[in-house]
Symmetry: C2
Subunit: 258 residues, 2 copies
Amino acid sequence: MAGTDIASTRADGSVRSIARAVDVLELFEVEHPTRTLRELVALTDLPKTTVVRLLSTLESLGLIADRGESTYGLGAGFLRWVALSQRMWEIGDQARQVMSRLVDTCGETVNVYIRQDLNRVSIAQVEGTTTVRSVVQVGVPYELARGAAAKILLTGASDRVLRDLVDTRPDLQPESLGREIAGIREAGYAVTHGERELGASAVAAPIVASGGRVIAALSASGPTSRFTADRVGRYVDAVTAAAAEISAVGLGSVEVFL
Amino acid sequence: MAGTDIASTRADGSVRSIARAVDVLELFEVEHPTRTLRELVALTDLPKTTVVRLLSTLESLGLIADRGESTYGLGAGFLRWVALSQRMWEIGDQARQVMSRLVDTCGETVNVYIRQDLNRVSIAQVEGTTTVRSVVQVGVPYELARGAAAKILLTGASDRVLRDLVDTRPDLQPESLGREIAGIREAGYAVTHGERELGASAVAAPIVASGGRVIAALSASGPTSRFTADRVGRYVDAVTAAAAEISAVGLGSVEVFL
């Protein structure tokens, strides 16, 4: 038993180290191509020595570039995955055009979410036209239990996925979640306010494969103040129509993975 | 002292876990978009339980997608870094056109290498026209002490980088390395056979910024059987001319990071 404990402690340490490394790398984004050590320490809430060690490890792997003066950027090592992740995960031009037209219609940020394991991830985004807008990042896993896109994805998930989700989330009540998903499946769309984040609302609808299987969710999201009763009907119409259109033209080569 | 030992053991474990996770992710490439568990175990030479744990951790972070039947692919999580790494590291169209013309001239695979820490990394590649060709991956760190491109990059490295390199590589003789670099700096190009890999040859020349600083190396590489005495003069001419041309038009926005 002691052996098992040591092994599982080691495994936990390994999981934690990798997760922390990803946490650091995630702080580099188009709006923040470089970060100072001070920022990284503040944003990760890790001890400075830990952040320095992570940066040094990631630098030796080519994933972080030391820019001098305690400033860091993403390393050229990421180029090894650019072509492959684009080829695997980017959606087709036709689907993207439908997304752009939806932004023109409703002004809100539009995303295509897929389920990965027990998370949801945006694989395509067209930003809204207003300055106050919903900010989610493409490629970042968000929770699968909250938000309109999550609920749509759950309408297409197997019983096993739902069980696993409920097992990891003691706050979820299986019966009420089951009823909610059945209702959303029947309605063909979901509207949520403040589920994922206070003040953030979303409307989402399913993107389906030719056999009718839900493979993704199309969502329009923004501040709750704009998702008013008199507008939400228009948003629901626009999102469900666009989702049907994307289902008809297809998401592109990514569909084989969904 | 016991405390320090425990801390450094933990740090080593952390470094090792992150390096192993990157080793696994590196096995996914355009030619191998998916891998079986069996392949991953064989190629990493790690215990199966370790590979399974790494995959599970990476899946929860969105970096691995479970495709069923013990088959895995790169997760959509990589999309979060695609736009930024392209914006930071991709070279400009003019430089890429010069690379393509060099491939037309010599038939060999052409790369632009930069130095990152104590490694060299290709940030751009145009593949050669023959079936037997040099295979290096864009974004993957290779050693900074061997190969023509490495030697060219060392002609632009500070004394401190050279000292650090020699410190980590007891097999390098500082004096002979120093003489070799001085010679290559004066010649303006490097030719190597079998330094990085048996049977692989390369010709490389410096890409310089407007102030004359070496910021990258342009290389043409392929099987030694084609880098014969009667052809190498032509290769050297073509590579040095192309490197001068790229120096004149610039590498693009990536130059601010070099």
